[in-house]
């Protein structure tokens, strides 16, 4: 971008300050002066008002918020002697959590203001350039019109981006910061303060007390993600082939039967499954009635069986989705290859292995990796079906079937070990990032292959 602006002969802000007239120079201190004194009164006043508002905020709240960020509070809640009253009064103390949140919000606000300041300087530079060229300055109406034309993206994106800033970026920065603090169940604000501890939580998770939970949960998460993705993908395609085979009548009806299960909200179907496979649930009752088993099968309470059950139930949930997508692909596959193979005497399995399956894989590969990442983060299936149970007394607030995400949830909601939860969150992020990167390079290689 810099190269481009130089080639257009645009001034740097330093050159602008040297060459500009007094209103432009004043714009460096009072935003919008150049606009006001050159007839763009409303635009200039808007700049100025924003600057006044920012300075006022900085004086009232901003400086305090920033200065507390380093210590995260020094006064703990407790009783202190009030000399004038001669009795002990309760001192509210600093709330480290709010101090951290406001501190980060303050940094974001300051960055926003710096951005605004640059916009102001750019506007001054534009005025300078237009005046030198002897061209008229855009009126307010022209400026507003440009918001529907060359600057249309500003109109479309500014409100959504404010939402992202408030509800995604700010919380995320906050939680990432938490990973470097001592915010756990022993340091809960407002009663206690918490502090910066550097990388202590990370080493705790990877080599310390928590490693004994972390590595088993991580291993199970990866095993689960591979198995869940592979089974639903493979059997989904088989089901699609079964329905779309030549000569099968009522394809639409068959398809609809499976699609219905997809439409039932997951929390309904999964809670239902949890009841169905309960120790005293209908499946066990039926098997006992038929005399096939004496004792109820612990589908969801035995560590290994629970893992298997979870994967099977996930197949119930996921196969129709793959089936539906694969159907779209299968009906569009060129048939000449298959016919040629049939003439050459290939059997159905050979056709599937060498022709149909590779073609489907080719189309679905990018979404397959997406699904894999989705399964690493598959909260619903585990949480609703087993809730991470059966319990394992060696684990720190996790059960046998807990994935990293459900463990994260438990660490925040039940154990209140927010710092550990944040570390886990960052690790999940790294996992997703690695696989996404892999997916990205793979899919671009696919693109060149397809071209």
């Amino acid at each position: 971008m810099k190269l481009k602006s130089k080639s257009e002969g645009q001034l740097t802000f330093r050159e602008l300050f040297k060459k500009g007239d007094t209103p432009i120079k004043l714009s460096y201190i009072f935003m919008g002066t150049a606009n006001i004194l050159n007839g763009q009164i409303i635009k200039g006043l808007a700049f100025l008002a924003l600057q006044i508002g920012f300075v006022a905020w900085l004086v009232v709240n901003g400086f305090h918020a920033l200065s507390m960020l380093q210590s995260l509070g020094t006064k703990a809640q407790g009783w202190v002697m009030d000399e004038s009253l001669g009795i002990e009064v309760q001192q509210p103390g600093d709330n480290s959590m709010l101090l951290l949140l406001f501190g980060i919000a303050a940094i974001i606000l300051i960055l926003l203001f710096i951005f605004l300041y640059i916009v102001n300087l750019r506007s001054a530079r534009k005025i300078f350039a237009l005046k030198q060229a002897g061209q008229p300055l855009p009126t307010l109406k022209e400026d507003l019109n440009s918001l529907l034309n060359e600057k249309f993206y500003i109109t479309l994106m500014s409100i959504p981006l404010l939402g992202v800033l408030a509800f995604t970026i700010l919380p995320l920065l906050y939680m990432i910061s938490i990973a470097f603090t001592s915010y756990d169940h022993n340091h809960l604000p407002p009663k206690n303060l918490f502090h910066w501890v550097g990388f202590a939580n990370f080493s705790n998770v990877i080599t310390g007390d928590i490693a004994g939970t972390f590595f088993p949960v991580l291993t199970w998460t990866l095993i689960w993600a591979v198995l869940a993705t592979a089974t639903t993908f493979f059997f989904g395609i088989l089901l699609a082939l079964l329905i779309n085979a030549k000569g099968v009548k009522g394809k639409k009806v068959w398809r609809t039967i499976f699609v219905i299960t997809m439409a039932v909200p997951q929390f309904v179907s999964l809670l239902l499954m949890a009841n169905l496979f309960n120790g005293s649930g209908p499946v066990n009752a039926m098997l006992q009635n038929w005399g096939l088993i004496d004792q109820p099968i612990p589908f969801l309470t035995d560590a290994l069986l629970a893992k298997i059950t979870v994967i099977f139930v996930n197949m119930w949930v996921g196969i129709p989705v793959t089936m539906l997508v694969a159907t779209g692909i299968i009906t569009n596959l060129p048939t000449d290859q298959i016919e040629a193979a049939e003439i050459d005497g290939a059997n159905k399995f050979q056709i599937f292995r060498n022709i149909t399956f590779p073609q489907i894989l080719f189309v679905m590969a990018p979404s397959l990796i997406q699904q894999f990442i989705g399964n690493i983060n598959n909260f619903n299936v585990i949480f609703l079906l087993t809730g991470g149970q059966p319990a394992n007394s060696n684990f720190h607030s996790a059960g046998e079937t807990d994935l990293l995400v459900t463990w994260l949830y438990k660490l925040t909601v039940t154990a209140a070990d927010y710092n550990l939860a944040s570390v886990i969150g960052i690790i999940i992020f790294v996992l997703s990032a690695v696989f996404s990167l892999f997916a990205y390079t793979r899919s671009s290689s696919f693109k060149t292959e397809g071209a």
Binding site: M97, N149, F167, L172, L242, L271, N275, M286, L324, V405
Partner: protein, 279 residues
């Protein structure tokens, strides 16, 4: 040869029938249970001995579990966040696909990174931000959170816009149309499938989400959405008493969503494939 083919078909049909039973069975079971008149969470048989509408009556009139109120809450949230989310997603996707500006590429990368953090991680912080805005326990907070989440879920819609030929825009531009006119008069009319898909997904989300909703709404039972409401009905201490009312609630929720889904199936597939094929 012919008999071999018929054997194949018989095999196909048997397999399909067995699989259909496996898939349909839990759904049939829940519908049957919702009409069961004998009490208790678990019984040892599938088909109820006696059928009754009592469970539905209990569900719709219970004062501890105001199901009708929950339903209206969810409907309200779903409609609002459906409208807002669709507007936001389409606006973002269109900007990032069709308009060219300096921050476009960096923003696409940033969005990719942001999407890789698990949503639950920031849940607690979102709660405190809403609390600072004095919004916790209100439906407005839910609408805000769902809609602002839509701003980063633009990938599928962007993939769709990418497939509309740029030549259309260019010829309109030569005729003197502004970007706004191109957006409203050319792109939007061509984008019905993706608009329907986005709206459908946004509409369905509030019916299914219970984690964020539970954290934001807390103990305010009157503001619950159906998902949290039903979830609270089947906790260990409540399940014996309320299990059948719970199943009745599930049926009442699942029916409209299922119908909507089957009706919109075509758009759903188009949405998934248009996004995934483009990568």
């Amino acid at each position: 040869m012919k008999s071999k083919k018929r054997n194949h078909l018989v095999l196909h049909y048997t397999l399909l029938t067995i699989l259909s039973i496996v898939w349909i069975f839990p759904i049939v079971w829940i519908v049957l249970t919702s009409f069961r008149s004998e009490g208790g969470a678990f019984v040892t048989y599938f088909i109820p001995k006696q059928f009754t509408f009592e469970n539905y009556k209990m569900l719709l009139t219970s004062s501890t579990y105001p199901f009708v109120q929950w339903f209206l809450n969810t409907l309200f949230v779903a409609i609002c966040s459906c409208i807002l989310s669709t507007l936001i997603t389409i606006a973002m996707a269109y900007s990032l696909s069709r308009l060219r500006f300096r921050a476009r590429k960096p923003f696409l990368k940033l969005a990719l990174v942001l999407n890789m953090f698990p949503g639950f991680m920031s849940m607690i912080a979102v709660y405190y931000i809403l609390k600072a805005m004095n919004l916790t326990g209100s439906l407005l907070a839910l609408i805000l959170v769902y809609s602002s989440g839509a701003a980063l879920g633009f990938y599928i819609a962007k993939g769709f816009f990418d497939t509309i030929p740029m030549a259309l825009d260019e010829s309109a531009m030569i005729d003197g149309a502004s970007k706004f006119e191109i957006f409203t008069k050319i792109t939007l009319p061509l984008s019905k499938p993706i608009i329907v898909y986005t709206a459908l997904m946004a509409f369905m989300a509030p019916w299914m989400d219970f984690i964020f909703a539970k954290i934001i709404l807390g103990d305010n039972v009157n503001k619950y959405t159906v998902a949290i409401g039903l979830f609270t009905m089947q906790t260990k201490d409540k399940i014996d008493q309320y299990f059948m009312a719970f199943t009745a609630g599930c049926v009442l929720i699942a029916v409209p969503i299922t119908l909507l889904f089957i009706f919109m199936q075509k758009y759903y597939v188009e949405g998934i494939t248009s996004g995934s094929v483009k990568g």
